[in-house]
Symmetry: C2
Subunit: 707 residues, 2 copies
């Protein structure tokens, strides 16, 4: 008797996807599922690696978007009137005596290097009209240029006005922002930036690079030039209430976390650390917010000193309950803007500050340095003496072998980054529970959509994403999506960071593959899953590619490795099955995931780029998401989240621990896409055992999976 | 009917080892075989990696060898009389006014950073009495200390006299040479070295490190202090004739190679390059020699200028034929010692020299720098001007973006290193042919030894190695072994760089594993192979470990990877089967091999250390030698040599080439050691197909494999 998918409970629906051992009576249920990576951690892989750069479009050279539009005879978009006005207003500001610059750089960042930012900080989008997530605008007195990467060339051509030159980053012959500035500006020009929007490292790099042409970097700290022209119409800064992240999810109380940070301060000979990454503040204080889409964070800074801690946040975001929570942990409140003043005051007192210059912005680091200078001058030291004192004569720091100490500043990775990435038992429990509820939502969803497609209901990619959201919304503890759903049918699936828009997206049918990469924020955890399915008859080519991707996924899932192994060592396991037939994918294989926090976090990753030496550690969570993308044809990605755990083996050579992975994601993989003869017996076992687990887990009544 | 191994022809003997498809009538032939790594490229892995350093013996602290001997109550070795005399004579030299030093460092090197050195250069062995290959002696007025690594602790304890303190490198609390010098010498001491025996980089590093305690590094260039006390009894320098390496093996004539080097000079804005690695000189000039054991090289330097080239070598090593060969290529001869004078003369003329400071010795670089100084002073420039001129003002080098140019010296990897590692068709043909002859010798050898062991003939590890040599000697074109054979029975197999000695080695029996790692120099190629066998009944544990090592070997052998992939990316493929049961090995997986040249060469490697970013390239040769070593029990290693080749695939994602390996080594792998249920069907196929190839290749009458 055939079982109709739509009538199945979530658990039965999921079970119907199971492998060989599933009931033969459910043939129509042999389908299945999909999901995810994008943006920062993975995204940049597609443009910055040397391997990727040998892609086919290297020969394209830079043309302005207007030239391009002319060549193509495109009429599809007319520039919004008024764009010229923005550039004109901006350039008028260049001449103001308190500004006096020759160029201004407008990046996409907020002041915290966030992946998702509030609307009021989308200055680059306001200025250029380009709405994609990545890009940098540079305006000089005579030019306006916009850099973005391959994901966004088409979109930028459509959205930029004729006044902008589109710079296709990564294409042959296209200069970098810095090369271009050094080329178009007369020697000795003044290049302005908003120092809040650049990490200190990025600003230093920029400063050094443009000094080659004797340009000066001008930090305009008191106002943002785009905000000046944006004026009244600029959206208000977010003002959402924060909440306490319950100890049952956080696992460790704030006092203990602060005491860990203080032990790190002590070990590093510092008095104070400045935390500026929003997820680090949220993690450290067991607080959550909703100032930006997709990430449960709130705009703030935090300083932790040996005996006190100060949260810099708009006080109207802080309820009585939150206030009480902070008070208990000895955390004081100050206004968001007070951070500069406080850092300067600390520096003037001679405090030793720990600043992660890869994330702390240049505004903070520059006031810190001027404060230090004043402190030193007060003590009557020359600059040379200062340098010597800080770097070698100080017995505290010398004794401890502290590196990177300059004046009174220690510039190294925040002590919170690694601590946050290693999950405690409560965080792991929350991640597991939220993944079970997510699995139930996805099981219902896949049953629903299969039925819809079979009944020839025309559903667009956007409608599919909206319906998926509805299934998730029904689950306890659901908050929002953890990123914009990538819902890509056919050729759209080949666009790694595809984001469908209501007016231009495809309908999902049964003639091609459908890639669905999505995730959710729950009160107790964060999910991120991709499945690729075919609602009709996949071609042999599609099956071969899918199976190779699956083999890579399985190989990484089953890896066992010695402690201290960096993630990049394992990357080859996910690729080698594709390499065997001359295929590959231009993104990393795994990124870290926060526990009820950002869907992308560091410091670990699994990538073919070899720069990240962070070892995978017990308690870390990573995604496992190999893929394959055939341009203009189809895209495949299979993604689960994995927990790094210690494995108990008969041996432990070298007396060390050996680590492996435990799956968090339990959603079936579509069997019809598997070219069975390609799989080894042990790979077939993996699929069957996974599907048995899916059956078992998804058979739970998720109402009993406590949030 | 059982076939007796000893009566088989080489080809039949080899065939008898074949897999499942071999005749069932040959049960006693189900055995076989073994092989290799050691020394420089792989050896250091066992002491320098952080992973390795967590080994069990970390807690051992430094004791002098006399203390140790006392503790153990050992009477096994009495120090050779007269050792005190050597130290006394050496220290007497310290006081000579033309020397005036407080310490002298005696390393194991010759002037060319060679792996194998001539006896007259074994100063460290002469001075200390320690005969192992690695170690550094440091003598001060009051102390004599000797550093060596874990391979040699026992040997050093036996061989060093009471006057020496043994420093167990890598053990917890044991200082480095430099830390020790900075600790025992009074501030401002003079530390002497023979600058010929240190690469320029090593000398610079030493100089900087001891300057922390205001010690001065004294380059004593005119004589070696150990040679002074060695006196009459010092062996004469090697004086073996050189020979022309025929064009049919070399593939490319000297003129073309020189012209390639000159194009590199031109590209890098240089006039002259100094080549000091002996294998680089031999490769570039299509010459071979026999000044040192195991490597067909001769003591010499080479300078290549735009219109001329000069070989610095003792003229009595050069026959009429060789002279003619050099003349044809426009290469002049000068005496070996003339190199310093010539480099100085070139510097004084203002020539721009390319020096690979990682291999060119400090004596050469220091005369070059003084020559440059004189040149600049003649032109009336200050030192600051000189620096500026060389680094930025020079239009030739600036235009080309040349890095590492200091004064008139360019310090970067020799242009020969990479060129030599990428083999041409003739070199590949020679490597293939010599491997077939080597395979025949090994087939005969394995049949012979199996028969001997079965008949209970007591054979020591040394006798086995000697007999192996006799089988190889019968092959056309055989010259010598390419390294000291590692013939290790039982627990000795677990010592990665074991070298049996006649008076202390084990007999090879049928109760344990036997690891045999050996190689040969033929006129047309160089071999290096390891097989591990059991002549009786292997334990389940041994079979499991062997099979895991074999799976790693197969995984690497079958790898396909995109061009530009560095070797370290593939290392995990060879380890992951062992990691799955908590095992590992503390050496690299692959090293480069020269074509009728050094058995270890760079720049490529396959290693778990991530520093070597050299991409594997078509035409390179690497070893594939995973292993597993159970201390005091047994050792396993399976090694083939592989040629990197382009593979033709249905796809080539990214428009790039995909590379893979072709086996050069054809010697059976013992089937009885395979735990068959552990292998996947495709791994079983690999074994069967390999053994079919072995059958086919070894069935050739090797008399027809032309040298």
């Amino acid at each position: 008797m055939a079982i109709e998918a739509a009538r199945l409970s979530p658990s039965l629906a999921a079970a119907a996807f199971l492998g060989r051992r599933s009931p033969p009576t459910a043939p129509l249920l042999r389908r299945l599922c999909l999901l995810l990576p994008r943006r920062s951690l993975l995204a940049s892989a597609s443009t910055s690696s040397s391997r990727a750069s040998s892609g086919g479009d290297d020969r394209v050279v830079a043309l302005s978007s207007s030239e391009l539009r002319k060549r193509r005879g495109s009429t599809s978009s007319t520039p919004t009137p008024g764009e010229d006005d923005k550039l004109r207003s901006l350039r008028r500001l260049f001449a103001r005596p308190d500004i006096a610059i020759d160029a201004y750089i407008v990046p996409s960042q907020d002041a915290h290097q966030s992946e998702f930012i509030a609307e009021c900080f989308m200055r680059r989008a306001y200025l250029t009209g380009f709405t994609g997530s990545a890009g940098t605008a540079v305006v000089t007195k005579n030019n306006a240029a916009f850099w973005t990467d391959g994901r966004y060339f088409l979109q930028a051509e459509k959205e930029l006005s004729h006044d902008w030159t589109l710079m296709r980053s990564g294409n042959h012959g296209v200069p970098t922002t810095i090369e271009w500035l050094n080329d178009v500006l007369p020697s000795g020009s003044r290049v302005g930036i908003d120092p809040f929007l650049f990490s200190s490292d990025a600003a230093e790099e920029l400063k050094a690079a443009i000094s080659d042409k004797n340009h000066e970097l001008i930090l305009i700290r008191d106002f943002n030039l785009v905000d000046e022209i944006w004026g009244e119409s600029r959206p208000a800064p977010p003002n959402e209430p924060t909440r306490v992240h319950a100890i049952k999810y956080a696992g460790v109380d704030v006092a203990s976390k602060l005491s860990f940070v203080r032990s790190q301060l002590d070990e590093n000979g510092c008095d104070t650390v400045v935390i500026s990454m929003l997820d680090e503040v949220a993690w450290l204080l067991n607080m959550r917010g909703s100032d930006v889409p997709h990430s449960p964070v709130f705009y703030s800074y935090l300083t932790v000193e040996m005996s006190t801690a100060t949260l810099f946040v708009d006080s109207n975001k802080v309820s009585e309950e939150v206030l009480e929570h902070l008070k208990k942990a000895g955390v004081k409140l100050k206004s968001y803007e007070a951070i500069l003043f406080d850092v300067e005051r600390l520096a003037e007192k001679g405090a030793k500050l720990w600043l992660d210059s890869s994330s702390v912005n240049a505004a903070i680091v520059s006031v810190f340095r001027s404060g230090c200078d004043r402190y030193m001058r007060k003590r009557g030291k020359t600059e040379r003496q200062i340098g010597k004192e800080a770097s070698s004569d100080d017995p505290t720091t010398k004794k401890r072998g502290v590196q990177n100490m300059e004046l009174n500043g220690l510039y190294k990775a925040s002590p919170v980054t690694l601590a946050k990435s290693v999950k405690n038992e409560s965080e792991i429990r929350g991640m597991k529970n939220s993944h079970l509820r997510d699995a139930a939502a996805l099981a219902e969803f896949w049953c629903w959509i299969e039925e819809e497609v079979r009944n020839n209901v025309a559903l667009t990619e956007v409608q599919v994403a909206e319906n998926l959201l509805e299934f998730r919304r029904k689950q306890d503890g659901f908050i929002e999506t953890s990123f914009d759903t990538i819902s890509g049918y056919g050729a759209n699936g080949a666009i790694i960071h595809y984001r469908p828009t209501p007016d231009s997206c495809s309908s999902v049918g049964s003639d091609n593959l459908f890639l669905l990469d999505s995730g959710a924020q729950y009160v107790d955890g964060t999910t991120d899953i991709t499945r690729t399915v075919h609602f009709g008859e996949p071609s042999p080519r599609q099956k071969e590619c899918f199976t190779r991707v699956l083999q890579g996924h399985i190989a990484l899932d089953q890896a066992v490795f010695p402690e201290r192994t960096p993630g990049f060592v394992l990357d080859v396991l996910a690729r080698s099955s594709l390499w065997k037939i001359g295929l590959d994918y231009r993104h990393g294989t795994g990124h870290g995931v926060g526990a009820a926090l950002n869907v992308h976090e560091g410091p670990q990753s699994i990538s073919y780029r070899y720069g990240n030496l962070t070892a995978l550690q017990k308690g870390m969570i990573v995604s496992n998401e190999p893929g394959y993308y055939e341009d203009n044809s189809f895209g495949i990605r299979i993604e689960n989240l994995l927990l790094v755990k210690e494995v108990n083996l008969a041996n432990s050579f070298g007396g060390i621990s050996y680590l492996g992975f435990e799956k968090l994601t339990f959603v079936p993989i579509q069997r019809k896409l598997i070219d069975l003869p390609l799989l080894s017996p042990s790979e077939i076992n993996w699929v069957n055992e996974y599907h048995e687990q899916v059956w078992e887990k998804a058979s739970l009544d998720t109402k009993h999976v406590a949030t």
